[in-house]
Each structure stands twice: as structure tokens, then as C-alpha cells.
């Protein structure tokens, strides 16, 4: 095995799918103030196509950059570009890390343990997350694959137990409120699909074809989000509109034998998803910052990043406006649009232009002109 290719394609697929499923578990439909969520399940079926389009700038950049990560590719254009991109993506991954932790902490302190301090869960989560980040990308992806399989099994299990409680009369036309409702739902599911940004750093390290892993993720994400959205809607109907975390409520309705509350399984899947995501994002943040910070400060840097992420996550948890902001699709769409589309496009175009210029000069030199 090439020591640079430390991540399996299957591990990448599992991580992306699990991360997307985790986000869909956390999503509460009423943030965009659109109708109940009728259009969400249809939007989920359109998600693979959306993801296929979203990945095009990334794919172009990886091709033009000859398999380099986004930070290294930017350095080809110059130190300044390298610094800007490294800083920008470090910020993105840092924000994604504390947002994931903050969302989960907000959930727990709103539902399962309202007596707990808003700082407790960020601190609790960031300790093992920091440990995992210190272990490196390879360890995170390997552990993530195991946790992803377990988490996905739990989610599927909860969904299966909800099937008898489905009332299909709760599901009606996704276009009930017109194409605008569908568009808003598509925007919502897209906004929550920003996990693809990790490709810009991880794809060069994948053994095998990352494109296949991504294609698998796109399909799996569509199916998974559809499953969660459709099931929640079919079980709860209009009740989901007034729930902060509809799938959590639905899991509380499910029962199997003597177990009459499966919300703990839902929480298990979510916390493992947050753990894997936050660990990976912190590690990727460090990899971006390694352009500025020597490697010998890696441990200290990760500890500081984890501490800062805990503080930021605690601020989200303790403040309802801040929590709401972290769920807002508009902000997420802008962020992912910039980082997954605009920045890679600009960089890829710049590299392409540079290559052509160099090729033209080389031709000129060769012709003796």
C-alpha cells in the first residue's frame, strides 16, 4: 500500500453517507418556514442529481491539480494563494467542526438532558474528538467506518420499527404549495449536504477511485434522506411541524417488544456521527493550518483548536438565536456555495490558465522563437 493513500474508497463512502444521514437526523423542517416538509422527501430523491452537479468543480480541481489537496494545489499558483486557501479552508473545517458539536449539544440540552449546562456536552465531545484527531486521518476513517456501519444499522432499525406506525394519509402532494415549496426543500437538503467539501482534502488520499465512492454516497444520501424524511412525515404528519427534532420524536414513538422508546438509538447514531465528523474536520483544519504552523506543534495546535471549538459550540448551545442561525439554510448555502463551488472553480481555472501559459512558453522555447 502506498503510504500516501491511507483512506479506502469504502471508508470515504461510509463517512460521507453517515455524515449526511446524521445531518438529516438533526434537521428540523420548520426552519425555513415552509409547509410541514411534504416536499422534503421529493427533494431527497433529487439530491443525487444535486450532489452530482455540486461535485463538478471539485472534480475539475482534483484533475487539474493532479491529485493534490486544495491547499497544495493553491500553492502551485503562489505562496499568497496557498496562504489564502489554507486559511479559508481551515476556517471552513473549524466552523463545520464546532457547528456539528453545537447542533448536537443544542439537541441534547433541548430534549434529553435539559438540566445540563450548555458547556458540558461541547467539553465532553471535544475531549475524545481531540484524541481522535491526534491519531490522524487514517485512524479517524477506519474508526469512522466501523461507527458508521453501526450507526446506519441503528437508523435503519429505528426506521423499520416505525413502518407499522406510518399513516400514508399524512403524505400528500409534494407540490401542494407549488414549485416554490419544492425549491425551498431542495435548497434545504442542498444546504445540509456540505460534507462534500472534505473531498478537497481527502480525495487525493483515497485508495481506489474516489469518484465511485462519491457516486455511491450521492445515491445512498438520497435514499437515506428520503427514508428519514418520508418516515417522519408518514408517522407524525402535521405534528412534525411543531417539533424541534421530528425524527427524535418519531423515534420516541417507535417501540419493539418491551422497548417503548428508541430515542436512545437515535442519539447513539447521532453522537457517533458527530464524533467522526468533528474529528475529521479538526484534523483537516490542522492539515490546512500546517501551511503556517510547523509539524512539531501539531498536538498543541489540535488541543487549542478543540478547546476553541468547544467554546464556540457552547455559545451555540447556550443561545437560541445562535442555534437557529446554525440551522439556517441560507447561510449554509452561501458557505457551501463559496467553498464547494466558487473557490474550487477559481483555483481550477487559475491552474488551468497557468498550465496553458507554461505549455505555450514551452512550445515557444522549443520552436526557438
Amino acid at each position: 500500500m502506498n503510504s500516501q493513500k491511507t483512506v479506502g474508497a469504502g471508508q470515504l463512502l461510509l463517512f460521507l453517507t453517515f455524515a449526511r444521514v446524521t445531518v438529516s437526523l438533526t434537521h428540523h423542517f420548520n426552519t425555513a418556514r415552509h409547509v410541514i416538509g411534504q416536499a422534503d422527501w421529493l427533494a431527497a430523491l433529487l439530491l443525487p442529481a444535486v450532489l452530482a452537479v455540486l461535485v463538478l468543480p471539485t472534480a475539475w480541481l482534483l484533475r487539474v491539480g493532479e491529485g493534490r489537496t486544495v491547499c497544495r494545489a493553491a500553492r502551485l499558483l503562489g505562496k499568497g494563494w496557498g496562504a489564502i486557501y489554507a486559511g479559508a479552508y481551515a476556517l471552513l473545517f473549524f466552523v463545520m467542526a464546532f457547528a456539528a458539536v453545537g447542533r448536537f449539544s443544542f439537541f441534547v440540552t433541548s430534549t434529553m438532558q435539559p438540566d445540563q449546562s450548555p458547556w458540558f456536552f461541547p467539553a465532553l465531545l471535544l475531549l475524545p474528538v481531540c484524541y481522535a484527531a491526534l491519531k490522524g486521518l487514517q485512524a479517524i476513517m477506519r474508526a469512522g467506518a466501523v461507527l458508521a456501519v453501526m450507526g446506519l444499522v441503528l437508523v435503519v432499525f429505528v426506521l423499520a420499527t416505525l413502518v407499522p406506525r406510518m399513516d400514508l394519509l399524512n403524505v400528500y402532494s409534494p407540490l401542494y404549495n407549488g414549485w416554490g415549496g419544492l425549491a425551498r426543500s431542495v435548497a434545504m437538503v442542498t444546504a445540509n449536504s456540505g460534507v462534500g467539501a472534505v473531498l478537497l482534502m481527502v480525495a487525493p488520499r483515497v485508495r481506489g477511485r474516489w469518484q465511485r465512492a462519491y457516486a455511491g454516497y450521492a445515491l445512498a444520501a438520497g435514499v437515506a434522506v428520503f427514508g428519514v424524511a418520508f418516515t417522519t412525515l408518514a408517522v407524525l404528519g402535521g405534528f412534525s411541524r411543531i417539533q424541534l427534532f421530528p425524527f427524535f420524536t418519531a423515534a420516541g414513538v417507535a417501540n419493539v417488544g418491551e422497548l417503548n422508546n428508541l430515542s436512545a438509538l437515535y442519539a447513539a447514531a447521532w453522537i457517533w456521527g458527530v464524533f467522526v465528523q468533528a474529528a475529521l474536520y479538526l484534523e483537516l483544519c490542522w492539515q490546512c493550518l500546517s501551511a503556517f504552523i510547523p509539524d512539531r506543534f501539531r498536538t498543541a495546535a489540535l488541543v487549542v483548536l478543540a478547546a476553541l471549538a468547544a467554546v464556540c459550540a457552547g455559545l451555540i448551545t447556550g443561545s437560541l438565536p445562535a442555534a437557529r442561525q446554525s440551522f439556517q439554510p441560507v447561510g449554509l448555502l452561501v458557505m457551501h456555495g463559496v467553498y464547494m463551488v466558487v473557490l474550487p472553480l477559481v483555483l481550477a481555472a487559475g491552474l488551468q490558465f497557468k498550465k496553458r501559459k507554461e505549455a505555450a512558453y514551452a512550445q515557444l522555447d522549443a520552436s526557438g522563437g
Binding site: 458540558f120 394519509l169 402532494s173 407524525l236 405534528f239
Partner: protein, 363 residues
């Protein structure tokens, strides 16, 4: 670095074990098994049945009043000096009197509380809801458990009104909520719980009660499983039919400018016993089935006429059917409740007498 980390871990361990962040232990919480809400002068009176192994019967009742249900329950916490634990609540009972102020007002706290399971059954009571926590049980079960069992489908014929289903109805204009109605009965000086029908709502306010006969139609139309015996008089002889399955399908259409819903009920049943010495001959089975179909269809039609058309109370999912099958036309309606009397509802029943009980058929 390693020394610093070891020191940090040791400090964390010490902080963890000192108990300063420990939660309230379960034994110091008020374990609520059932909640009953009645109307009071200033608003609501809440009665809570709490688990107490040391008390006689294994539970104790606590009561308090408040301007809202939340306030009343909070006052119980203050009175008892313990934090209430709702996650194991088995039932919520609301008296008819308190429901007159609105179903949403009564349920608001329960719907918003994440501690309360969303599947907890909700029922209305004839008379004070707190009386249901003073009932007896032959098996020695707690009153809340007895009431919860009573509300389960297939147990007594009444339907389960889970909190989330009621909440869903309150969020839509295409359906009205219905709650099982419970009452008490005195037998040999002891009080027992009894099912007392179904309480239908028009929006948030109580509208009408379904009679026992109308309950059958309600169960068939809403898809609640029930294998109780159905009485049928065939050629002057009373029989008892066990309905194993009632599958419902709808067809929704627009006839001109008025909606139309056709309901098809497919029944699988058998004749459990003959109430008299008369048996149903094999040659008469077809006629028996037709008689059953006609009887069921008549019952459905009458129920719909009174409750749906006359009282404009849609507890039968008709609005939801129309919304699903004819979304555009349904959305175009200004007010579904105004359209209810104009909606043409027909019902066709197909009965399949699948088995005939022993001794009930002669060759």
C-alpha cells in the same frame, strides 16, 4: 506534554467523582405514571399519580391548580418538593369540562414537552378526570396502568388517541381530532373504569359524542383494528359476527363543484356463535354476507350523516383523503368545514365470511 495531560486527566477524574455535576437521582424525582387535568376556577386542576413503593397501593396522588396546565403541574413540583419525571407517564386524561376551553390549551404543555413520550395515550373523561385515578383493579394494577390498558386497541374496542396523532390533527384543517371517552362505574361499592364512547372535536372544541353504534363506523373508517364481536340480526335471529379485518380503500373525485368520496370496506369475518338454536345453513351464507354488508353500510352512512354532514366534524379522515387524492381542488376550497355537508360520501361493504364456527353451519 505527557505530564500535563496526565495531570489534566487526574483533575478531570477528581472533578467527575466528586459528584458536583451529578444529576438528580431517580429516587429523588417524582415518577409520574398518569396525569389528569380538570377545569378549576382559576384555570386548571392537575392531578398526578406518582409511583411510590412505600405508599399503600404503590402510588400517591398529588393535586394543584394553576392558570395553565403547565402552571398547575409546576405547582405540584413545588408542593411535593421533587422534580417531576414524565418519561414514564402512561396516560393523560382530560375532563370534558376542561376541554371546553380548547383542546390545544389543554395539550399545549404536553405537546411541547420533550420529556413526555409522544406516543402517550390521551383520553377525555366523563366527569372529573381525577376520578379515574381512584378506580379499583382486580389484578392490583395501578389506576394509570389500568386506564392505559383500557385505551389500547383490541382490548376494549375503544381507540387509542396517541398524543402525536391528536397533535397532528390540531395542525391541519383537513381533519378533526377525536379522543376516547372514559367514565367510571360503581360495582359493589367499588369504582371501575369503563369506556364511554368517542368524543369528537370540531377544531379545538368538543363537538359531539359518538354513540356505541357509531363507534363501529368510526373504527372501520379510521382503520382501527378490532376483533370484537359484531351483533347482527339475520332473518329475525340475532347472531354474533367476529370481524377479523376491515380493509378500507377510498376513491376521491370532484362531481361538478362538490367533492365526493367513495369508501370501500372489505370485511373478513366469521360467525362465532349462534345466539339461538338456529344455525346458518351453507346455502344461506351468501345472504348472510349480504345482510352484513347492508347493515355495516347503513351504520356508516348514518354516522357520517349525523357527525360529518350535520355536525361538520371530520374525524373520519375524509378531508385527508381528499387532500391526498385531489390536492389541487382541496387546496382551492376556502373552508373544508363549510364543504362537509356538500360532500357526497358513499360506502360499499364487501364481506367475506371466511370461516364458520363449529356447530354454526349445517350442511
Amino acid at each position: 506534554m505527557r505530564n500535563w495531560m496526565q495531570a489534566a486527566v487526574s483533575l478531570l477524574l477528581a472533578a467527575a467523582l466528586c459528584g458536583c455535576g451529578a444529576p438528580v437521582p431517580l429516587k429523588e424525582k417524582l415518577i409520574v405514571e398518569g396525569i389528569a387535568v380538570d377545569a378549576a376556577e382559576a384555570g386548571y386542576k392537575a392531578t398526578v399519580q406518582a409511583y411510590s413503593p412505600a405508599a399503600e397501593g404503590g402510588s400517591r396522588l398529588f393535586q394543584a391548580t394553576g392558570g395553565t396546565v403547565f402552571e398547575a403541574l409546576r405547582n405540584i413540583d413545588v408542593q411535593v418538593g421533587k422534580q417531576a419525571y414524565y418519561s414514564d407517564a402512561r396516560v393523560i386524561l382530560l375532563s370534558e369540562a376542561c376541554l371546553r376551553a380548547g383542546l390545544w390549551a389543554a395539550l399545549d404543555f404536553f405537546i411541547r414537552s420533550s420529556a413526555l413520550p409522544a406516543g402517550v395515550p390521551v383520553a377525555a373523561t366523563v366527569g372529573p378526570a381525577a376520578d379515574l385515578f381512584a378506580i379499583e383493579s382486580e389484578a392490583g394494577d395501578q389506576p394509570a396502568a389500568v386506564v392505559a390498558n383500557l385505551l389500547q386497541v383490541n382490548r376494549s374496542g375503544t381507540v387509542c388517541g396517541a398524543l402525536y396523532r391528536v397533535g397532528a390533527c390540531l395542525q391541519t384543517d383537513a381533519a378533526d381530532p377525536a379522543l376516547p371517552l372514559l367514565g367510571t362505574v360503581q360495582k359493589q361499592g367499588k369504582r371501575y373504569a369503563r369506556p364511554a364512547g368517542i368524543l369528537c372535536f370540531k377544531g379545538q372544541t368538543p363537538c359531539t359524542r359518538l354513540s356505541r353504534g357509531e363507534e363501529w363506523a368510526f373504527r372501520w373508517l379510521c382503520g382501527y383494528a378490532d376483533d370484537r364481536a359484531y351483533p347482527l340480526t339475520f332473518r329475525g335471529t340475532p347472531y354474533t359476527v367476529t370481524l377479523h379485518r376491515v380493509d378500507r380503500t377510498w376513491r376521491a373525485a370532484w362531481e361538478g363543484d362538490r367533492p365526493a368520496v367513495h369508501i370501500a370496506l372489505a370485511v373478513a369475518c366469521d360467525i362465532a356463535e349462534a345466539a339461538s338454536a338456529h344455525k346458518v345453513a351453507a346455502a344461506e351464507l351468501a345472504a348472510f354476507a349480504r345482510a352484513l354488508e347492508a347493515d355495516m353500510a347503513r351504520r356508516v352512512t348514518r354516522t357520517l350523516a349525523r357527525v360529518f354532514a350535520e355536525r361538520r366534524c371530520d374525524v373520519f379522515d375524509l378531508g385527508r383523503v381528499l387532500r391526498q387524492r385531489q390536492p389541487a381542488r382541496f387546496k382551492g376550497l376556502a373552508d373544508w368545514r363549510q364543504e362537509m355537508p356538500r360532500c357526497r360520501v358513499t360506502c360499499a361493504v364487501t364481506a367475506n365470511v371466511a370461516r364458520v364456527g363449529q356447530g354454526a353451519v349445517t350442511e
